[in-house]
Symmetry: C2
């Protein structure tokens, strides 16, 4: 394992950045070479600077962290560690699939970040204890929707009426109702008005 690693922090909260800088200051193997507060600038930064480890927050105002991940992974040999709050647990699976090497919750003690970095650099996939817990709870028997159902859910989330949906998809209104009934069944809700809410909970959409 090489002796030294250059770290880029990507997080929209300056205070969190400070916390991470402080954390890495106590570990000589790591040097923080930059800290960005917006996703848009990450691509350019990693092109121009010798970064080999990125600490990436999933929740940022301008770009969804997950998109940044997709952008930088693969562009060069870079290890990405996800740092996330409670609200993005549903994206974690996807992040790992995209090539993230570790996941740590902001509710973990800071040392977990170090542990994650070292494990990831050693070639392991690391998931912090707190994260493992949370994922276990959040992972219900998986709800799978057909593409038609997804499409209708999507329109539903935008507040379209059945009539409008029928028009857009060029099908009859009762057919839309039928699909919605399926959504109700699969999402286990009794009223249409709860479908979108539930879908968000399950991180569909």
């Amino acid at each position: 394992m090489s002796a030294h690693h250059n770290i880029l922090i990507v997080d929209d909260h300056p205070i969190t950045q400070s916390g991470l800088r402080l954390l890495f200051a106590g570990h000589e193997r790591f040097t923080v070479v930059g800290a960005l507060d917006r996703g848009a600038t990450v691509g350019a930064f990693v092109q121009s600077q010798p970064v080999d480890l990125v600490i990436l927050d999933l929740n940022m105002p301008d770009v969804r962290g997950i998109n940044i991940l997709a952008e930088i992974v693969g562009s060069r040999d870079m290890t990405v560690i996800i740092l996330t709050g409670e609200s993005q647990y549903g994206e974690v699976d996807y992040a790992l699939k995209l090539g993230a090497r570790a996941v740590v919750s902001k509710a973990d003690p800071p040392e977990e970040v170090i542990a994650a970095c070292e494990a990831a650099l050693a070639g392991d996939i690391y998931i912090s204890p707190h994260m493992r817990d949370a994922l276990g709870k959040h992972r219900q028997p998986p709800v799978t929707l057909s593409s038609r159902q997804m499409a209708i859910l999507h329109y539903l989330a935008q507040g379209e009426s059945n009539k409008e949906i029928a028009y857009r998809l060029s099908i009859a209104q009762p057919t839309v109702s039928f699909h919605i009934a399926e959504l109700r069944r699969k999402l286990d809700v009794s009223h249409n008005r709860k479908i979108v809410e539930r879908a968000h909970e399950l991180n569909l959409l």
Copy 2:
């Protein structure tokens, strides 16, 4: 102005806690006497320790930060500074009404926290520049709902049908529809399916 202040940090992210500790370490007037990651324990802490300044995150898993604020303000002479992310901007007005002395966004540079502390201790109400911006944008002409409209909004949020609502309130279904139409108008949405979502955005309900 007294020479020294004892600070309690309340935030569910240990890394943010570290960042704040680091920040205050550079200012001799302030000593961090504790950091809590859950709201429930705040009441007990301020009873037993000499705290005169609380840095409070509004977004915590167990208790809404705003409730903690209500609990500790007034119990003794304590200055409370709100530190919040993007998602709770709607609660800020309420927090100030409850007696918070300053509001800082997590998207502000850390020095803003110091500035807020000093201003608040000097007797001012401090709102960080970033926060002032965000509040300006978020503050539409205030939406006021009648008690009937609130009641119906409440039932709506629980996914009740118009029929059920009519039954519960002992009024006719068309009357319920009428109130719902009023809600649509006041909340400026075109579809019923968006009413509840919008109500959440505006911090009604």
